[in-house]
């Protein structure tokens, strides 16, 4: 009896390890930024208001959502963001991440201002059609702010608290399940009056 038990136990351990390995998404990398202050930046906005900085959001819980019109998965989550914005729970700020790709971005003939203009036109066109969930969007044409936030796969979503600390990060589209089971309870917890 004991002779069979040992291989059986070893096998069970192996199955557990492999099973856990199968369930994990290798693309999901734990972010070192959770629990740290949101990196500071100042970027031009989509509608041309004065440049936006995360400091402007001090005192409120907000969502920072990285998106682009070329990003297919962003379109997937877009209706959910629009729906969430309608509830007016907390503001969503958009980060338009490298809107211009390929030759549009590397075109040496067009000036930086022209590129910004082109990116704005494209983004506005998309938001007019699909709905605009954002309080405002900022334009990160070269992706350098994205690097400071550890962006590696759009869409990405950050939940930032009243003190400007990142409390949660999601890589990939936000699904209704994630919104209801993770993000909403977290908002409730963070949004309590001090």
């Amino acid at each position: 009896m004991k002779k069979f038990l040992l291989p059986l136990v070893l096998f069970a351990v192996l199955v557990v390890f492999l099973g856990v390995g199968l369930k994990r998404d290798p693309r999901e990398i734990p972010s070192p930024l959770v629990g740290k202050p949101a990196p500071v930046f100042s970027l031009p906005t989509l509608n041309g208001d004065k440049p936006f900085s995360p400091v402007d959001m001090k005192g409120q819980v907000w969502i920072f959502n990285v998106w682009a019109t070329w990003c297919v998965a962003c379109r997937e989550e877009h209706p959910l963001l629009v729906q969430f914005a309608k509830s007016q729970r907390i503001p969503i700020v958009g980060l338009s991440y490298k809107e211009l790709q390929g030759s549009d971005a590397s075109n040496a003939q067009s000036s930086e201002a022209d590129k910004l203009q082109l990116a704005r036109e494209r983004s506005l066109k998309f938001l007019q059609k699909a709905g605009d969930p954002y309080k405002l969007s900022v334009m990160d044409l070269d992706g350098s702010v994205g690097i400071n936030y550890g962006v590696y796969g759009v869409p990405e979503t950050y939940l930032i608290d009243k003190e400007g600390i990142i409390r949660y990060k999601r890589v990939g589209p936000v699904t209704p399940e994630i919104l209801i089971e993770t993000i909403l309870p977290l908002i409730q917890q963070l949004d309590k009056p001090a």
């Binding site: 693309r27 070192p32 070329w70 998965a73 790709q101 390929g102 690097i147 550890g150 590696y152 796969g153």
Partner: protein
């Protein structure tokens, strides 16, 4: 998630499609040389089994640009790695740092090796005892008797 992967792969193909002109390499050969050495040890976040030095993913391109900038600012290798780890976590390093969380990773194999050697040694000892003691004096005499007959 699948879409994101698709986008990444498509953007790689589109990059290849327009790769007619050479990249503006070696503006400063010294910077490029250091870049290659450092980015060998860094992982591309999009194509996770590729080093940052050889990846064609767009993000890798951007990260190389950042690293170039840091090299020009005379940052040390350690500072550059810290810069990336602060943003992307230990995951960007091909060689994970030694800390309590990674102890099983670094020492686990040695622990298993010691365990296996111990087990093997015990097994050998048991076998030796088995071969040495399985006949006592009386049985031995009996066996000799049987052989004589």
């Amino acid at each position: 998630m699948k879409h994101a992967l698709l986008v990444a792969c498509l953007s790689v193909t589109s990059w290849l499609a327009q790769a007619g002109e050479a990249q503006p390499m070696a503006q400063d050969p010294q910077v490029e040389a250091r870049l290659v050495v450092i980015s060998e040890e860094l992982r591309c976040l999009v194509c996770q089994n590729e080093a940052l030095s050889s990846s064609h993913a767009e993000l890798a391109e951007d990260l190389r640009r950042e690293v170039r900038k840091l090299i020009r600012d005379n940052k040390t290798d350690a500072e550059i790695k810290t810069y990336l780890v602060e943003r992307y976590g230990d995951f960007v390093l091909y060689k994970p740092p030694l800390k309590p969380l990674t102890w099983p990773l670094w020492f686990g194999p040695f622990f298993l090796l010691v365990l296996a050697i111990g087990g093997f040694w015990r097994y050998l000892r048991q076998r030796r005892q088995l071969t040495h003691n399985h006949l006592d004096a009386a049985q031995r005499a009996q066996a000799e008797q049987l052989l004589k007959d």
